[in-house]
């Protein structure tokens, strides 16, 4: 995660907000809005909805600022509500149907790349195509799985942070992460095969 250490500006902003000066929120909004909207967008996949979610999350944060421990960074505390609100919003939309979580053990380049920290060199290259595969694959995950992937890979949260932010036991988080990885691997494998097949057909 990019923002983990509470800056002096952030501390002052929170202190003034706690004293009732609503403009103290300005610094917090400016500091965290892009990361928060991006994370929400990757989960809900609708930029306008993502902005609405973050906007409401800021309002809730201001209302609950008295409960916030100033010695800790604001970012993770705030992002928890953004992630939770995003998964709830997806739940309300009910348009994402998770695939069956059967783990296909057949090795594929994409799956290895996702799971293996030393992947195939050609898959280390980020291309528009591989990016689109990941986008499609994320879309096939359910909201909670997607949230776990975003927290892990986009917000770079640790297990402990994820546990705290999602307010769930560590085992649940690990299980969700594993399921999400497996789902992604399976889905990307399908995309990869389709892509490969298209290339073969063209030849």
């Amino acid at each position: 995660m990019t923002v983990k250490i509470p800056s002096l500006e952030e501390k002052l902003a929170i202190a003034s907000l706690k004293q009732g000066d609503l403009d103290g929120m300005a610094a917090l909004v400016k500091r965290h809005q892009v990361r928060a909207v991006s994370a929400a967008f990757l989960i809900v996949r609708d930029p306008k909805l993502a902005e609405d979610i973050v906007q409401e999350a800021f309002l809730r944060a201001a209302e609950k600022i008295d409960q916030f421990d100033e010695s800790r960074p604001f970012g993770p505390w705030f992002l928890r509500s953004v992630i939770n609100a995003s998964t709830k919003a997806v739940g309300r939309q009910k348009r994402f149907v998770p695939l069956d979580g059967t783990d296909d053990e057949e090795t594929s380049k994409v799956a290895e790349w996702l799971m293996d920290p030393s992947p195939h060199p050609e898959l280390m290259v980020e291309t528009q195509e591989t990016r689109q595969m990941v986008w499609k694959a994320l879309g096939e995950l359910n909201a909670e799985q997607r949230a776990v992937v975003i927290m892990r890979h986009f917000l770079e949260m640790s297990e402990a942070e994820m546990t705290e932010e999602l307010d769930r036991p560590l085992t649940t988080i690990r299980w969700r992460l594993k399921t999400a990885r497996n789902q992604l691997r399976k889905i990307l494998q399908l995309f990869w095969k389709a892509d490969y097949q298209e290339t073969q057909d063209e030849r």
Binding site: K30, Q55, P117, R131
Partner: protein, 466 residues
């Protein structure tokens, strides 16, 4: 044992990079600005808008009050010694202050302005004092502009509820000059479109500065590199924050359009109190314009104001019964102006629809001259001070169009000849416009602060009213 605070597994920079890119493809960081909405939500929140002490447990009230008192004393001490806010906070608060217009009563402004659009050196521009009164509830206003050096009247215009008063052009403020002639004509309500004082007189702004200062303010809000210079106290006792940034400066003398702009904000109310702009010319800093509010007050609605200018010395009021020197009269400002215009003429062009963010004001000459085309003016203005105006020019086709530097023909056959002339008006606004000829040989004048491409879009939308 596994450290729970470390990220799980090995970091995968590629998937992280992909997620970053996927987000950035849609969520453009420079376009994300939630603060205005969040601020509005916060202001509207019942919980948050309650004073903090009301939310406290009663038994802590006295302790809290004592603490507040100590904090207040400290705040006063600190405010007198250090600058405790950032440039961005000042701009945000000023924006908030601007949007909280209070128009109950008579707005009274006095400001000082210095104009040196030609970029002359050594303060050779014109220093003027502008005093205005306006009552948005009945449309009455009066604006008096005097030369600061000589005290001579330069320009006067007013509306007393039944008569409009205006000087035709402005008179040089030479000592001993003859009386300033002010023409008086019976009118319902004169048009103010395109005038420097339109916003304040119409009550759409409580900042007594013109569109130029507001334009600088808007640009400064979007600029991440604004410097808080500090505080200064003016001769009239006002203490202001001084903010400065580089910005395009409008002037006739520009080789390089970039210059320095400065805005002044009241330290207590955060109201915009003044602006100045300067350019560098031959290695020297040349002041191009400066505005400074000397007085900004709301008088009780019952206050006596000589709307008919009867208190002014040095003017000669001349009746103008035929409206020969008259300014445009606003047509049915509170009902449907397009319909009212259609009832008077069938040779006027209007936009098919009023563009988003714009409002329409139509004005006509109170007394239409005989054997002349029907004179009207339709002005579309937005909150930013931009306008698009079309008005009658002549009922004859143009004989010479060699002056045009660009010609544009619409799908309906309207031909717009863009005029090639200095690109800013005397008010310092970007000027674009020209003459538009219709297929049946009539000509209309177009004037706008919008870019040419936008004007072309507007002209495409013009239709003859029915």
């Amino acid at each position: 044992m596994k450290d729970k605070n470390k990220p799980m597994g090995s970091k995968n920079p590629t998937i992280q990079s992909m997620l970053e890119h996927l987000a950035k493809d849609t969520v453009l960081p420079e376009k994300v600005d939630l603060w205005p909405i969040v601020r509005a939500d916060l202001a509207a929140s019942k919980t948050l808008s309650q004073p903090k002490e009301l939310l406290m447990n009663k038994k802590f009230t006295f302790t809290a009050l004592a603490a507040v008192l100590v904090l207040a004393i400290m705040a006063v001490f600190l405010a007198n010694n250090v600058t405790t806010v950032s440039a961005q906070q000042i701009l945000d608060r000023a924006y908030q202050a601007q949007t909280q217009t209070t128009n109950q009563g008579i707005a009274h402004f006095r400001s000082e302005a210095y104009d040196n659009l030609e970029g002359k050196s050594d303060g050779q521009g014109q220093d003027t004092i502008v005093e205005s009164y306006s009552d948005p509830t009945n449309g009455k206003f009066r604006v008096v502009i005097t030369d600061k050096k000589t005290g001579n009247l330069l320009v006067v215009f007013a509306f007393d509820g039944s008569n409009a008063y205006n000087t035709e052009g402005s008179k040089s403020g030479q000592p001993g000059a003859e009386l300033l002639i002010v023409y008086r004509s019976a009118q319902d309500r004169p048009s103010l479109i395109g005038t420097t004082f339109a916003d304040r007189i119409n009550g759409t702004s409580n900042a007594g500065l013109d569109a130029e200062a507001k334009s600088i303010f808007d640009k400064m809000r979007l600029n991440p590199h604004v410097e808080l210079v500090g505080k200064e106290t003016w001769d009239n006792g006002h203490t202001v924050y001084v903010l400065r940034s580089q910005q395009e400066v409008k002037s006739f003398a520009k080789n390089d359009p970039m210059g320095l702009v400065t805005l002044y904000f009241d330290v207590h109310t955060f109201q915009l109190m003044g602006s100045s702009s300067s350019i560098e010319k031959d290695g020297k800093e040349i002041l191009i314009s400066r505005q400074q509010i000397l007085l900004d007050e709301i008088l009780p609605a019952s206050s006596h104001v000589a709307w008919d200018l009867s208190d002014l010395q040095g003017i000669n009021i001349v009746d103008d019964p035929n409206g020969e020197h008259s300014v445009f009269e606003t047509l049915a400002p509170n009902v449907n102006p397009a319909k009212a215009l259609a009832a008077k003429t069938d040779s006027a062009y209007l936009l098919k629809t009023v563009p988003d963010g714009f409002s329409l004001e139509i004005s006509v000459l109170p007394k239409q001259p005989a054997n002349q085309p029907f004179f009207y003016q339709a002005g579309y203005t937005n909150q930013a001070g931009d306008y698009f105006i079309i008005r009658t020019f002549t009922d004859k086709p143009l004989e010479d169009t060699s002056w045009a530097d660009e010609t544009y023909t619409t799908a309906s056959g309207l031909v717009l000849y863009f005029v090639n002339q200095p690109s800013i008006t005397t008010r310092g606004e970007e000027f674009n416009g020209g003459l538009m000829q219709t297929p049946n040989g009539k000509t209309y004048a177009i004037e706008s602060t919008l870019p040419r491409e936008r004007i072309k879009e507007f002209v495409e939308d013009l239709v003859l009213i029915k």
